[in-house]
């Protein structure tokens, strides 16, 4: 009996230890390196009697990288958190959070009809002020880092095989069926430039403006999902002909950009941050 109790306690301890290890966030903290020159001297006998001076490399961790967690109220809003995770990760454990790390400066190609440029510009400029996310429009391409243009040929994020096999209504509601977006980012998945390309034939399609706005919105968060069931989002299938982002979208953007992560955040890391928040809240 005592033996069984010991086994149970050891198992419980092992489980608790593995759980605490799974929420260990220390590996996320980046290491800074500083080299101190000539910190000591070694005497050498061969080949000549001489002194060799040595440098010392100092390591330090940036502990401020996690200081945002205690105030990250996304983690206490269970309803919204569920929506956020569903859209951003779409139950894909390898999905990553992407953020723009530089102010976005949009440039529209000259061959896009003016009324479209005007319509999309109004949509973009209607996005309210959001911390860590700044969007402006420029008429000078050299100042831009976000290029919206009409492609030289038809474009799609779907392969020919996907187009042939997927149900038509799914293709029709997929915003990337005739618009593609490509981005450039760093090793932390922080974006600094992007190009949005439109299929030439799609310009006159009645659905075009809605899809372009959806793609632009998704390009700000790079979500795995593209559908939201809350009808206050432009990603809801019940919405069309919208001129601004929905209330849900704005809240989502505010949470998404509340903190610019200094490290790569995938679903596992995000869950660990969530656990860390709960741990802090209980302390």
């Amino acid at each position: 009996m005592i033996y069984k109790k010991i086994v149970f306690l050891v198992t419980l301890l092992a489980f608790a230890t593995s759980f605490s290890q799974s929420t260990d966030l220390k590996p996320l903290l980046k290491t800074d390196y500083t080299i101190k020159k000539n910190v000591d001297t070694l005497h050498v006998k061969y080949p000549l009697h001489a002194n060799v001076t040595r440098d010392k490399t100092i390591k330090s961790k940036d502990t401020t990288a996690l200081s945002f967690v205690k105030d990250f109220d996304l983690f206490k809003n269970n309803y919204f958190l569920r929506h956020y995770k569903s859209l951003i990760f779409k139950q894909d454990s390898s999905a990553i959070i992407y953020q723009w790390k530089e102010p976005i400066v949009v440039y529209f190609d000259h061959n896009i009809p003016q009324e479209i440029t005007k319509n999309i510009s109004q949509f973009i400029l209607s996005i309210p002020e959001i911390d860590n996310l700044n969007i402006t429009i420029s008429k000078d391409i050299n100042k831009a880092n976000y290029y919206i243009k009409i492609a030289n040929q038809e474009v799609s994020a779907l392969t020919n095989k996907q187009k042939a096999e997927a149900p038509k209504d799914l293709i029709d509601t997929y915003p990337f069926s005739k618009i593609i977006y490509d981005w450039n980012g760093d090793y932390n998945y922080k974006m600094y430039s992007g190009v949005l390309q439109i299929s030439p034939s799609y310009i006159n399609d009645p659905q075009f403006l809605d899809d372009l706005k959806k793609v632009f919105f998704i390009s700000l968060i790079q979500s795995k999902g593209y559908r939201v069931y809350d009808n206050t989002s432009i990603l809801s299938s019940s919405n069309s002909n919208f001129s601004t982002l929905g209330a849900m979208d704005i809240v989502l953007l505010k949470y998404h950009y509340k903190n610019l992560y200094k490290f790569k955040v995938d679903y596992t890391v995000f869950s660990a941050l969530e656990n860390y928040y709960k741990q802090l809240a209980n302390d």
């Binding site: 590996p27 290491t31 061969y46 060799v52 090793y187 430039s193 200094k262």
Partner: protein, 294 residues
């Protein structure tokens, strides 16, 4: 100096395939190299006499090398680096295939100075600012410099955009910007083509930053390490406006320091440091590494 010390000095330097007879050494000195290095270098079976003359030094089996003739070159004293530095240096300099860490992964380096050619499409301003960045990067690197050349046939480093002449057929169908690098059996880089996709980097400023990124990587087929603080270039985050920190510069300087064998695999690199440090600490001997002239 004791006999064992002398054997250690001679043997260990030969392990690196570097140290051999100098004009001042006595003629009756026997030159030895490790069994592993002997097999790799001579590719011939050992004779009975060879095996009778085995000597064990620092856990290595040493073989006598007959009629050893050293090629022209120069000896450079071991450059000491602490383990903290070496641990992070290894993550950058040994770019493992598909991120699978292997002791056989080799470091790559430029043996000759870089002669860079820009295709006509490369913006003048980009070229000028890139060259200033490249020259500044290499100004403290002893054994590597860069100069621009006007003719592609005089170059060993070509920078071009995808919408013009294709200088490297092996990357002509790449959808993303990249470089293609050639190296020889000593892991010496001797040619490189850097191809930027102009549509992805649609302004001169974006192109300049991308060129800077690839240039730093191309100095040693380096791998960025996202565990390093974002203020350093080698973190791959470039938050410091694509400027090199002192730490970044030190990594590049060390990569081109000849105070260690160049072009080795990770295993040899670690062994060399271990042996050099042990000798330095325990016997106050500073090893030299012999580098042959080409």
């Amino acid at each position: 100096m004791t006999k064992s010390l002398l054997i250690a000095i001679i043997s260990l330097t030969l392990v690196q395939l570097v140290q051999a007879q100098t004009p001042h050494q006595p003629k009756n000195v026997q030159y030895r190299m490790s069994l592993k290095q002997f097999k790799a270098k001579y590719k011939m079976p050992l004779t009975a006499k060879d095996t009778l003359n085995f000597v064990y030094v620092n856990n290595d089996t040493m073989v006598i090398v007959k009629d050893y003739v050293r090629k022209p070159g120069t000896s450079i004293p071991y450059q000491y680096k602490d383990s903290t530095f070496l641990d992070v240096y290894k993550t950058i300099a040994f770019n493992h295939y598909k991120d699978s860490v292997s002791k056989k992964t080799t470091m790559k380096y430029w043996k000759d100075d870089i002669a860079i050619f820009f295709s006509n499409a490369v913006d003048k301003k980009v070229k000028k600012e890139f060259m200033a960045f490249a020259e500044k990067t290499l100004q403290h690197v002893d054994s590597l410099s860069i100069k621009e050349v006007k003719h592609v046939e005089d170059s060993n480093y070509v920078v071009y955009y995808n919408d013009g002449f294709e200088y490297e057929s092996r990357i002509s169908n790449y959808k993303k910007s990249d470089y293609y690098m050639h190296w020889n059996n000593k892991n010496q880089i001797y040619r490189l083509s850097l191809r930027l996709i102009k549509e992805d980097f649609f302004t001169p400023n974006l192109r300049l930053r991308e060129l800077k990124k690839y240039f730093i990587k191309s100095l040693g087929h380096f791998e960025f390490n996202r565990n390093i603080d974002n203020k350093h270039f080698f973190s791959g985050s470039h938050d410091n406006d694509y400027q090199l920190s002192d730490f970044d510069t030190e990594i590049i300087k060390y990569h081109y320091s000849y105070g260690i064998c160049k072009g080795t695999n990770l295993e040899t690199f670690e062994d060399n440091h271990k042996k050099a440090k042990e000798l330095l600490k325990n016997k106050q001997i500073l090893l030299s590494f012999y580098h042959e002239f080409e």
